[in-house]
Symmetry: C2
Subunit: 585 residues, 2 copies
Amino acid sequence: MYRTHTCGELRIQDVNKHVILCGWIQRSRDLGGMTFIDLRDRYGITQLVFNMETNAGLCREARKMGREFVIQAEGSVAERSNKNPKMPTGDIEIMVEKLVVLNESLTPPFTIETETDGGDELRMKYRYLDLRREPLRNNLWLRHRMAFEARHYFNARQFIEIETPVLIKSTPEGARDYVVPSRINPGQFYALPQSPQTFKQLLMVAGYDRYVQIVKCFRDEDLRADRQPEFTQIDCEMSFVGQDDILTMFEGMIKHLFKTIKGIELKDSFLRLSYEEAMEQYGNDKPDIRFEMKIAELTAIARGKGFGVVDSAPYTGGICVKGCSSYSRKQLDELTEFVKRPQIGAKGLLYVKYETDQSIKSSVDKFYATDDLKKWVDCFNAQPGDLILVMAGEKLPTLRALSELRLEMGNRLNIRSKEVFKPLWVIDFPLLEWDDEANRFFAMHHPFTSPKQEDISLLDADPGKVRANAYDCVINGVEVGGGSVRIHNENLQKKMFRVLGFSDEEAERQFGFLMHAFRYGAPPHGGIAFGFDRLVSLFAGEDSIRDVIAFPKNNAARDVMIDTPSEISDDQMKELSIRIERMKD
Amino acid sequence: MYRTHTCGELRIQDVNKHVILCGWIQRSRDLGGMTFIDLRDRYGITQLVFNMETNAGLCREARKMGREFVIQAEGSVAERSNKNPKMPTGDIEIMVEKLVVLNESLTPPFTIETETDGGDELRMKYRYLDLRREPLRNNLWLRHRMAFEARHYFNARQFIEIETPVLIKSTPEGARDYVVPSRINPGQFYALPQSPQTFKQLLMVAGYDRYVQIVKCFRDEDLRADRQPEFTQIDCEMSFVGQDDILTMFEGMIKHLFKTIKGIELKDSFLRLSYEEAMEQYGNDKPDIRFEMKIAELTAIARGKGFGVVDSAPYTGGICVKGCSSYSRKQLDELTEFVKRPQIGAKGLLYVKYETDQSIKSSVDKFYATDDLKKWVDCFNAQPGDLILVMAGEKLPTLRALSELRLEMGNRLNIRSKEVFKPLWVIDFPLLEWDDEANRFFAMHHPFTSPKQEDISLLDADPGKVRANAYDCVINGVEVGGGSVRIHNENLQKKMFRVLGFSDEEAERQFGFLMHAFRYGAPPHGGIAFGFDRLVSLFAGEDSIRDVIAFPKNNAARDVMIDTPSEISDDQMKELSIRIERMKD
């Protein structure tokens, strides 16, 4: 070993010990006769001291060493005269007697500090230096601990972690697959899994009844904010369970993580909201319930007063913002601009101020008498001092716009604390959603999700009305997991593919292996997959999953550090029986 | 929940409990007025009883159900009159009161028994049924526990598990890469990692000092026995350590696994043999040391007696087989045939029998007097009753042939028990090996392995002589892990690439990112990777890694269950800017 201790562990009780430390030079200060070096490793920082009077040679040597040099320092632990209570090692320092430079360093292209001066691209290129910074170090350690604790939870409950294959079969349903040409089978391809869905179901057929895997998945998408071509799931499946059993089991996992990782005890059962309730109350199927401010519908009471915007709208609704009746014209105009942005696309915004003196002011005084507006106020159970913001239009877009406005108001009021965590389940999702462009239904979750028993008869008559045994786990407005009870019957699965517009032949060709498996004693089963990157970023308080991934790709799906994707040789392509054919536009 | 208990947990103290079990029908027996069903799940088998007298309807229902039906059975636990001490649940049975068929089953294409009647291909096609068999179930549970315990060991020692990317860069050094065409970057490709080697080294540069990952790796090889296109490694790396520290740490991991998983306490430190010693004593760099029977060299004492075969051979050596002097002509002929097989390729086999009456008989009496042969006997310290088997020829091929013969004799003598485990380290591997075809040196381990300090000067003069800080972990003749202390200096790394025949430009293009990283304070580091599939198969006593992988591929790298690789659509190829181009032969 090059060292006796790490840079994070020496304390006042270690004074006089003879130690050897290794690490990187965080910074170096010359104070007249003394030189102080902060030596850093993964575990912390320890101060090294060199004294011009007692050992001028060594002190001069130390002064030559720059930032990020890797050194080995030997000496004795001493009590500091000038203690630093902010550092765990702040009571001590090392009186260095011997020094070895293990490796030199060029000056890094950005500072290795919590707040660095490096831009995004530069830090991506030198990711190995960025990863030295404390925030990233903390995030990766958090990620490790979360994976470890999740495994602990599942192991204690007889879940078995089984590795499913990475080289699987391409199936066009869902997002785009990454494919891998096969050399041994020319003209044929593997695909990388978008999820181990069919394999975990086969494991249920095989009798493994409690499966878990923390596993990489792949999706060839045009990268929007915070998507990565490869991402990690906590993938789970259980047999002989209904939806309730599943929710209870995985709610337990989330609680276990909050308790062991963040010391937060979530005592209550998670709220369960139906998709319909979530949409009506929050305009969102992943509601942020850290704050109330629920949407209320005003369609009926607002109509018939001659205000065309409302009279012609299928839906009118609003939110009540506590204590904001004093909002200025300018502030209200800002909000109007906010909802009119193309991303939200509302036509306008009405307001009703319920002033602290109990008078009512609004942008629609022309159409509504005070008594009319009092009814609106009552609808929200508003208190004097509150501000009511109202929109009208087609129902779904209006609800979505109200959701955006609600979140914006939550931000403005600073009631979306990253230290508060409010998980819930959204359940009873629709089984299908209609796609105008493709002119057919798509599975809202995936084609293996089971319809609710009582809705099966609607599959022919009115497929859009069928509800699924599907659920999402949502925390603070972030969907961290989703799953469903699955179909485990061949005929129902075939029916489902027909509803999705598959010919029987196509369904057989793509998913025959699963439907055949259902013929040999498939148990009732269901499961869930958690987006591990998102879950970690939520725990870390980070806005981007990139900050919790060691080597992420950029928005063009490139790794700029290793410079990939990149060209391969003609020989490689020949062996794989493929050729590049550039598209002409 | 569909059940109150599993099929493996009820015991005599549960008698009279009212329970609900779920599972698969393993078998069903009608004995006059009674029907017995063995109900199976992952956890065991429990006997269900139906009685024609007390409930004829239910009994008739039970008789209709075939093998592998999934059922739910409700009833009370009763003490068996006819106990089965071989089954953990053998003291009890369930008097069934209610029965629900959860799913029917066709008759499986092979029996779901420990010894099945299904052939390899059939069982691969119906892998989900094969996985129901107890041996595979035990293997996957073993695999889960081994991964869990390995993680425990590392977590307790502050190793951090970090996920490295799967979509990386193709580098021709080493085996063939699987590649993935990039849609967003037309004409460019990712490669799937053969190992996370460069990333774990970058993590060391980033200061993570103790890294571990249980990770899938990929190699596009022509599949020989017991290779899989995707396989799993326990991948590890440490900083501020030398070879000794690394061996101690990972020896500890192996010991931990043997103790926690198999209850075997390996008290002694693992033997450490240099590559040279291993070759001289066992003819093999992965020696099976469950038994002695070391090779001894006879070159000098065998020469000069007029026996041309030996006189003209650069090397003569042999093994001494305890208690086999009574081997018959026929048995000795068999052994001669064995070593002459093309896989071994020896020219012939000499024997010396040291009879129990202390007389000496040999196949070379014509050339050697008894006194000459007594010297051979002494060389092996042979005892009366022993058989000495000797070969002569070029040194390396002869040693290898002797190794094969030694292993064969071990098999014949039944001294290679699967219940005995003898791990060792083979160290001091050569850095390079010469390839006649390519007319250049290749890295024996990989290009990042550091040469021994004292041999660096030989890099120019005699590269083949340079020893590496490289080591393999070998158990019972199986290489379960290998690693090295790495180069952490840019200039030495450049030098290494030059020795391997890379131009500086080529080295820069492929591995520039790593060499640049070495400029910014790279610590001394090294590591190891264990072949997890092999390690599990060794623990399981299986000969093939396929038996410890849930969904393996066949020898043509195909998954015959899901039928992949398979064709993809023209649209998919167009999007990826590739085209299939079949080779003409």
